[in-house]
């Protein structure tokens, strides 16, 4: 089936190797049997990423990394999405190298450890509280299991602060996650946990977050692709009314819509990967990929019928993972709003300029 062939963003060999390695380590069957990702996979998967050299993929060679670019990383991340890799890969391997230069000496050390695979970054996604003893309590941390550091983005008047905590001395309580491929916890930090903090304006923050938006989009495409393939395979073999259900037009049309969404998402995402500095390309790619993944993963459950609703069928993992990424780093709706606002403002501003010129008595306005 043509859908199964994934064209690499950078290098087909790297892509195929990642696909093979990750497929062997895929957690689907174990998670479907009720395994807990935080105990069963968080360590194994991270070790695998370190062994493959993936954690240091964007770390400069001077710091022991591979010094490769976003396209190579994207090849790995798409397969991680498709194979439900359990770990904060894009967050650590991509966001951290971008932030490191702002973190001074701390950043330098982190990069080296990242290349060795010994840094793993959790991310705090809910507002922190201070407890009675003045310790910072993070009510919701993604990828907390095994994370040595936690990143928190504080959105403030006029900008964003990136705050880095270390987890040594923290007390952590695992919580039940919506997405079983991503362990979560509430964490109360030790008093001296903050090791770096950098404040930047909205534009700079937006720029620092671009790669993570692009890779979130890439991962969403991986998830959507896997769910889509699963659905197509299923409807070709399941029979009802004496027919393979794939013969029913309602099913064909649902899948044709999935195909259409996936093909838009792929195009938008590879465009964003090729033009990593372009704000519109990155944000729109994430919006399109999230829309595709949300629809396709839900349809995958629908097309499996009763078994689609069972924990033992792995269809729900795709939906849950897509749902999490859809909401990550401000969420899809906010990105769409920003892209739309930029478009509207830029258009109305140039119009004003043109009208001013027209008033000066020359240019004709149709």
């Amino acid at each position: 089936m043509t859908q199964g062939i994934s064209t690499a963003y950078s290098d087909q060999v790297l892509r195929d190797a990642a696909a093979r390695t990750l497929a062997e380590a895929a957690p689907n069957a174990a998670l479907a049997q009720g395994a807990d990702a935080s105990t069963a996979f968080a360590e194994n998967h991270w070790r695998l990423a370190a062994e493959m050299g993936w954690t240091g993929i964007m770390v400069p060679e001077s710091h022991g990394g591979l010094g490769l670019g976003l396209a190579e990383t994207a090849d790995i991340v798409e397969e991680m999405g498709a194979q439900l890799f359990c770990g904060p890969y894009a967050l650590s391997a991509v966001l951290l190298p971008g932030l490191a230069s702002h973190f001074g000496a701390v950043g330098d050390a982190l990069l080296r450890e990242l290349a060795e695979g010994s840094v793993r970054l959790g991310v705090a996604t809910a507002e922190p509280k201070s407890d009675a003893e003045g310790r910072v309590a993070l009510p919701l941390v993604e990828h907390a299991a095994g994370a040595g550091h936690i990143l928190h983005l504080v959105r403030e008047e006029g900008g964003v602060s990136f705050v880095l905590y270390r987890t040594a001395g923290a007390t952590s309580r695992a919580l039940q996650p919506m997405d079983p491929t991503c362990p979560i916890a509430s964490v109360t930090l030790a008093p001296d946990a903050e090791i770096a903090r950098v404040r930047c304006g909205h534009d700079e923050a937006e720029r620092l977050l671009l790669p993570i938006h692009i890779l979130t989009a890439v991962e969403l495409v991986g998830i959507a692709r896997a769910a889509f393939e699963r659905a197509v395979v299923h409807v070709r073999q399941r029979k009802q009314f004496g027919e393979v259900i794939g013969r029913f037009q309602a099913i064909k049309h649902r899948l044709a819509d999935g195909f259409t969404l996936l093909s838009h998402a792929r195009l938008a995402v590879s465009d964003a990967v090729q033009r990593p500095g372009d704000l519109d390309a990155a944000q729109i790619a994430r919006v399109i990929a999230a829309d595709a993944a949300m629809k396709i993963t839900a349809d995958c459950i629908q097309l499996h019928g009763g078994m689609g609703f069972s924990w033992e069928t792995d269809a729900h993992f795709y939906l849950k993972r897509a749902r999490r990424l859809h909401a990550s780093f401000g969420g899809t709706a906010a990105l769409r709003k920003r892209a739309g606002d930029r478009f509207i403002e830029s258009l109305l501003t140039t119009d004003c300029d043109r009208l001013r010129k027209a008033d000066a008595g020359r240019e004709e306005v149709v």
Binding site: L255, T260, D271, G340, I344, L347, D351
Partner: protein, 405 residues
Amino acid sequence: MNALSAKTASSPAAILAASTDEAFRAGIKAWFAQELPRLAGDRYRAAEMQRLAFRREWEDHVCRSGLSGLGWSEAVGGRPLSLTRQAIYHQEYARAKAPLAVNLIGHGIVGPTLIAFGSQEQKDRFIPKLLSNEEIWCQGYSEPNSGSDLASLATRAERRGDVYVLNGQKIWTSFSHLGDWCFLLARTSSEGPRQRGISVFLVDMRLPGIRVRPIRQITGEADYGEVFFDDVEVPVACRLGEENAGWGIAMAAANFERGTYFIPRIVRLQTELEDLVRLAATTERDGRPVIHDPLVRDAIARLFCDAHALRLHADRMLKQAEEGVPPGVEGSAVKLLWSETHQRLFDLAMDIMGPAFQYGPQEKLAPAEGLWHRDYLWTRAETILAGTSEIQRNIIAERGLELPR
């Protein structure tokens, strides 16, 4: 700047020969900017320029100035032009708000198909009059009982000596009342598979026995119609390709639509979206410009994202065409996205207008003289013509995903 430095645009021949794509773009842009207002005179308003008479006048002017047959070989009198430049041409055409072509079928489908399948005699006869836009073409495929299931068509062509005798009926034929010639599919055999009994004919619409009845459309215009054939004698020389080989030619002709139909429309959608933002910025509701309404902004943002995807698809179609890669089922995905996005765009325009949406498309009081209203209604056709949305989904599922028929 003063009057002395006012530039005159270069000649079309010089523009086509530009050494770089950028120079080509600048040249063609300047040409449209100069010629459109000049030809339109006091009709230089968007609504006025969409009227059929002006559309024809403008198309004649463009063709006779030497801007027809773009991308066709010199051997047939065409003007070779890279696909990239053809796309630039369409972009600037849309940005200049130049009116849509009337002889779309002629230039977009008949020309390329004749070049590929026509005899020398046929090329010599028809191509020059296409280049000069002297002959308008229509396309006779659909029949009352054969629409989506085109291969079931029943209009018969019986060979009698050196003519074929044509009997039957076509319907929904765009510009049938203006057409000088019709690119027609008819049944020449009822044996074997249905697809193998169809031939293509180039039919002079003035032949005795042809009757055209325009049909009013939901926009109020009557741009399509039905065509009746009653013992019409078509010379054998007007058969395109071999007898019973018409289906393959029709399929190849459909591929030509990819470049000539979709790419210009995708490009146009971008400028329509920009106009929509301007409409929202200049329309007030409850004392405030509608553009401040968060729901309107969200709808615009969604359209902006879809327009972005469409642009990428257009670039890719172009690249694939340049590399000679045959179009796959992605063409169907693009048609779905384009037609449905276009419908949402005009739906939103109606929302933005508030009560003014109630004016009919021919009502002068309507904003932009009813252009939004007209196109809002017109977008309903786009999920029907050139293969309905349902048929596109069947194609994706059966050819792309290989699900059983």
